[in-house]
């Protein structure tokens, strides 16, 4: 299929970045380029990164920019065709057979088909964005099956024949990299590794997401979160945690808590593992003091 060049008036990575910004998503150049190329080349976009760097948010923002409905398929181990593709409405089919009596009836007609995310996106590719979330949680069988879907954008339903997409649907895949994805899957996609943002960008993200947070607070939180991420924690705080922490601290501060103290008392929204908390507890005061300074 020929490259599209422009989609809903977006004809360059910069245009996409601006559009994403107006959807409250601050993408860096790498992500904007990869997302633009995915849209223009009609390939799926594969986003990998640590938990909490905004992979799912990116998909939501892309859907918002394109003004399309987001269809989300959450992967899990053992996910199969009846959860991802389609399912027949068996009770309804049974009733139809009973009611038909002597007449013939097609029990594989449209009224008996239940659409699941992948079929839904194939049938209306121009008004949806399909998000296949946390693909690394699914098992190898499902990944292999996905390969076929992603290269031809078609699904065959034995009772009805093949459903083919009229145009290439926009597909975003995310992975936390808890296991290596198959090379063939990476190859079919446009790939981007989302890293933690620079402190500068993260501070802007915090302010964009939590409008009540003052700039100084955002910077202090981002600096503290950056320090925490350098520690060997079992769950490093992501961007969502940074936003929550800034909001929580602001809230406590309005309630009368003083500054360094407000950060310390709301640490529970940033670190959610008892052992991680114990690990940093001794140095937390110093860390926060340095970050506020």
């Amino acid at each position: 299929m020929a490259p599209r060049g422009s989609i809903v008036g977006i004809d360059s990575p910069e245009a996409l970045e601006r559009a994403l910004r107006s959807a409250y998503y601050l993408a860096d150049e790498g992500l904007a380029t990869a997302a633009y190329l995915a849209l223009a080349l009609g390939k799926p976009l594969l986003l990998e990164g640590s938990p909490g760097v905004g992979k799912t948010e990116a998909a939501k923002a892309i859907a918002a920019v394109l003004a399309r409905r987001l269809i989300r398929l959450q992967c899990y181990e053992g996910i199969d065709a009846s959860a991802a593709l389609y399912e027949w409405n068996y009770p309804r089919q049974m009733l139809a057979i009973r009611q038909a009596g002597e007449q013939t009836i097609d029990i594989y007609g449209e009224p008996f088909l239940i659409e699941r995310p992948m079929l839904a996106s194939l049938r209306s590719p121009d008004s949806t964005v399909l998000l296949i979330d946390e693909i690394d949680r699914s098992d190898q069988e499902f990944e292999a099956f996905l390969l076929e879907f992603l290269s031809d954008f078609q699904i065959s339903i034995p009772e009805r024949g093949t459903v083919r997409a009229a145009e290439r649907p926009v597909v975003v895949l995310t992975s936390n990299r808890t296991r290596d994805l198959h090379e063939a899957l990476r190859r079919r996609c446009v790939y981007h590794w989302i890293d933690y943002p620079t402190p500068e960008r993260e501070a802007r993200i915090v302010m964009a997401r939590a409008s009540s947070v003052a700039e100084g607070t955002a910077r202090a939180v981002v600096a503290a979160v950056g320090r925490l991420r350098r520690e060997p924690l079992s769950k490093a705080p992501g961007i969502a945690e940074a936003v929550d922490w800034a909001e929580a601290a602001t809230l406590l501060n309005r309630g009368g808590a003083r500054w360094p103290d407000a950060f310390k008392r709301s640490i529970g929204v940033a670190l959610k593992d008892e052992e991680d908390l114990a690990y940093v507890s001794g140095r937390l005061d110093a860390m926060i003091a340095e970050s506020v300074a």
Partner: protein
């Protein structure tokens, strides 16, 4: 015919970049080359950064090799020197020990191996060659019986069955359609059983030297026998050896493991090694719900409290944690060393790990034990 002509002159430097990447171990498919060229055309390109980003997006170098990609890119397009190429360790190796030259470790009392501490300090990075190993009856027994006797868990996928909790609506309906819409018999589904994930952590320090090769052979046999095995070695570093263990031939697997593991026969910091394991989320997730085997004598150079904490965490996420130590011989074995005493209340089994048959017996008996 013009489609098959040689590519336009302007595209040549970009196409020439691909073999360079391939020569440096990046796997790039022809369709990715096509995507790369279309991406460059789409972006303009206005400057080299566009080309670099187009390559990142379409050629998809793995994130841990990003530095190598950048170095090659600079070399190819900017005529820069190729330094920084081999720098940066593999994704699968984690250095456990930080430099603490001059600082003293108070714990040396319960050691039989006098040179162990020095070895830990110097982080003896050595290469090791394995001789051809006899196959061993125990390993053959393991491969034969693994399918039946390794621990299993319920899968989320369902399978046809005579009896079962769920009704197979699809099949029942099809049978009913054959019988004028009359449901005569219900077809059932039951949940399938799947082999549990297995995690093997092998101590390759000096004190385990005599056993290292056998233990790796065992890890190889396990990896070959059952689908979901993760294998790591630890000493002064933590190294994931799952990939070499997947090679079919044992000699080849061990030789390629010998290449990536660089801390053979050195010292040990088991606590730090396990902590390093738990600190990488990707690795830590391998332990969740897994049959976890640690093959180590537990002669710890580091702090026993740190070791106990790490073992406690590992034991909470594992299905069952077995500590296989050559010291546990005989029925009246009691842990003596400080480290083993500290961890004994967190591990589910502390059993003989001194010979391959003993380890195989334990692994094959695990299914009958309850999850702990």
């Amino acid at each position: 015919m013009s489609e098959f002509d040689s590519p336009p002159r302007a595209a040549r430097p970009f196409i020439a970049f691909i073999p360079l990447l391939r020569a440096n171990g990046f796997a790039i498919a022809p369709e990715q080359t096509i995507a790369f060229l279309s991406a460059i055309a789409l972006l303009g390109p206005r400057d080299l950064e566009d080309v670099r980003r187009a390559g990142l997006a379409t050629l998809a170098p793995p994130p841990e090799r990003r530095a190598a990609y950048d170095a090659l890119f600079d070399m190819h397009f900017l005529d820069a020197e190729g330094d920084g190429l081999d720098e940066g360790e593999e994704d699968d190796v984690v250095r456990v020990q930080e430099d603490r030259r001059g600082m003293d470790d108070p714990l040396a009392a319960d050691e039989s191996n006098e040179s162990g501490e020095d070895a830990t300090r110097a982080e003896a990075l050595v290469e090791r060659r394995f001789g051809p190993a006899g196959p061993g009856d125990a390993l053959r027994r393991l491969s034969r019986e693994a399918g039946r006797r390794l621990p299993k868990r319920l899968s989320y996928r369902r399978l046809r069955a005579r009896r079962g909790a769920a009704v197979d609506l699809r099949r029942t309906l099809r049978d009913a359609a054959r019988n004028d819409g009359e449901v005569i018999r219900l077809s059932h589904l039951k949940r399938r059983m799947r082999p549990r994930r297995l995690l093997v952590l092998i101590d390759v320090s000096g004190s385990m030297k005599a056993r290292t090769q056998d233990n790796l052979s065992l890890a190889h046999a396990l990896t070959q026998a059952t689908p979901r095995v993760e294998a790591f070695t630890f000493g002064t570093r933590l190294t994931r050896v799952t990939r070499p263990m997947r090679l079919k031939r044992r000699e080849q697997a061990l030789a390629s493991a010998a290449q990536i593991v660089s801390d053979w026969d050195g010292g040990t910091r088991i606590g730090d090694a396990l902590k390093a394991f738990l600190a990488v989320p990707r690795f830590a997730s391998y332990a969740r719900g897994a049959v976890t085997l640690i093959i180590s004598d537990g002669l710890e150079r580091g702090d026993p409290a740190a070791l106990a904490e790490a073992v406690a965490r590992l034991s909470r996420s594992a299905w069952r944690l077995s500590w296989l130590t050559p010291l546990a011989v005989g029925r009246d074995f009691r842990p003596r060393t400080q480290a083993l005493i500290a961890i004994s209340r967190f591990v589910d089994d502390m059993v003989d790990g001194g010979s391959t048959p003993a380890i195989v017996d334990h692994i094959l008996a695990l299914q009958r034990r309850r999850a702990a």
